[in-house]
Symmetry: C2
Subunit: 335 residues, 2 copies
């Protein structure tokens, strides 16, 4: 692979390159590149959160596996999840969309229906954007604004050695759902439908993110977009720590286990590397364990899953009995 | 043309369709879809301005006519121009970019160099974004935040019957520059180089926009991205008025006139329909004429050009002697 191509430097190299052009700090920017949202002081009591995601047809979505209505839902959901991961409350969206001029109007209507449904559920208003015609693949870019009190904010960088590591729900469901869709093995069966729905209509954990922020219990938080193996590494890198996950504690749903049996696949692979679950991963003091259980039960009706702990040594390990395996991140990476 | 395709409903139809899904007003949104920027109250003394533009390769830019460094400059400049048109001050940019993984690193570096140059000139900080790989044409989406005092804000909707109509500089230069590039008729000649530069490195009128906003003299303002014929219509639609332009007052530069002679083209066509000039168009009371001349001389070193006046009858006319021709907007339109 040629060293002077983006494919060689990879996604993180591309981000570092862009960051290198803006080495200075701006006093009003409490957080720039390197967290789920940028955090700005704009003069009000609350801080302004900003997140933006670009989605391209054939890379992030395809109508082969996701109807346009669900693409609209998801385009906003992935941004809402970033606001949730900071402990914030979303309020205003900007939607830019590039479509071929030969696109049926009904497709844009379906997209907007899904987008609005998610927006209504999250209390978000669409205040602008851009519409352009493109010559081939469609493209969507959503920028989402939110607010957060300075006290309620949770960064990726706060994890401390000894912290518990939690996730807000099952891992790998979205990857299982995608697998079913790609193999065209839908079946009229409740479990499989749930997995498909996890892929097509992820539910951002807004209430939980905010409650965790307000509680002051979470030291670090991130949303799981690329798979826990990759996203936990972001927490570790930013916090200058490492992490050990307990294989037996990774929450894998019954339907995912059933699918894994049917397809002779190890479900832990989907759970660790699958991505697009949009659950929250967060770290807290071990002495706050009971408080976290109570808080998550009160917000979600069930407890979050404690899946590991933070260590001093850099790296992310999976522990099964007395065996520790270092995880190389196989989550989704661009370039 | 089939009625159920985006090409039939057109760009304005697409925007109306999207707007239809969010019919309600949000109390904190002082301006949503339908101006150069969205205007939000976020609790501080100043209002928050937000604008976003999506650019696609082959539609908005091509390396055949614009080097990557200038594409980077321009991607930010077009957003800065939107902030200028509200009377605001830009501060924070978010850059999302989709490139093929086979793209040379040097191309991204060139792009970022131009982007940073424009950012430094405007005092703008890059605080985030997204980087994705795409399978064909590249795509850029910039979201820019700015601030403005409630008193300094200028909307599209404030034009009043009898107002003077002004533009901040020459019209059609960017279109002339593009024409030279497309015909590959560069020539080492100062005038042509100036036209090319108008196309490749437009200079957003930030100081002038802010000064006009603070002066309280401008009733309505817009930046000229799609050509005066189309953009003036936005002012008229939002203000519920019409406009008459004086053909003889349209400021056409010497180099553009020379180019027009060489190519046997009517330069007024470039001036009215060319687009991408990124000059400001604004309306003011006739009794403030002298103040506007003084203000523009003090900010730009030369006076703005008074090109027409606001009338009650809907429509945009071009007047030459006793002849009035209604302008159909031929500026750039998507879909």
């Amino acid at each position: 692979m040629s060293k002077d191509l983006l494919s060689y430097v990879g996604e993180s190299g591309v981000i570092r390159l862009m960051q290198r052009f803006f080495p200075d700090h701006a006093h009003y920017v409490k957080k720039g590149i390197g967290d789920d949202c940028a955090v700005l002081e704009t003069g009000g009591k609350d801080l302004l959160l900003v997140t933006t995601d670009m989605l391209a047809e054939g890379v992030h979505y395809t109508t082969k596996t996701t109807p346009y209505e669900d693409i609209g839902w998801k385009a906003l959901a992935v941004n809402l999840s970033d606001i949730a991961a900071m402990g914030g409350t979303p309020h205003t969206a900007f939607l830019s969309i590039g479509l071929k001029s030969s696109t049926p109007v009904s497709i844009l209507e379906s997209f907007m229906r899904g987008f609005r449904e998610m927006a209504c559920e999250a209390g978000v208003f669409l205040a602008g954007g851009d519409t352009i015609s493109v010559t081939s693949h469609s493209v969507i870019s959503v920028t989402l604004l939110g607010r957060c009190s300075p006290e309620g904010l949770v960064f990726r960088s706060g994890a401390r050695v000894g912290d518990d590591i939690w996730v807000s729900g099952f891992l790998g469901n979205a990857a299982g759902g995608l697998e079913i869709l790609l193999r065209n093995e839908h079946k009229e069966e409740e479990g499989r439908q749930m997995l498909i729905s996890s892929h097509q209509r992820p539910a951002p954990r807004l209430k939980l993110g905010k409650a965790l922020g307000e509680s002051g219990l979470a030291h670090a938080m991130i949303d799981l977009s690329d798979g826990v193996a990759k996203d936990l590494r972001h927490i570790c890198d930013e916090s200058n720590v490492g992490a050990v996950l307990d294989r037996g504690s990774i929450p894998i749903s019954e339907p995912l286990q059933a699918l894994a049996r049917d397809l002779s696949h190890d479900p832990i692979d989907w759970a660790l590397n699958g991505g697009e679950d949009y659950e929250l991963l967060f770290t807290t003091l071990p002495e706050d364990r009971k408080k976290i259980e109570e808080l998550t039960v009160s917000v979600m009706g069930r407890t979050a899953a404690r899946i590991g702990f933070v260590v001093k040594d850099k790296g992310v390990w999976l522990r099964a009995g007395s065996m520790r395996t270092q995880l190389t991140h196989r989550g989704y990476t661009h370039f």
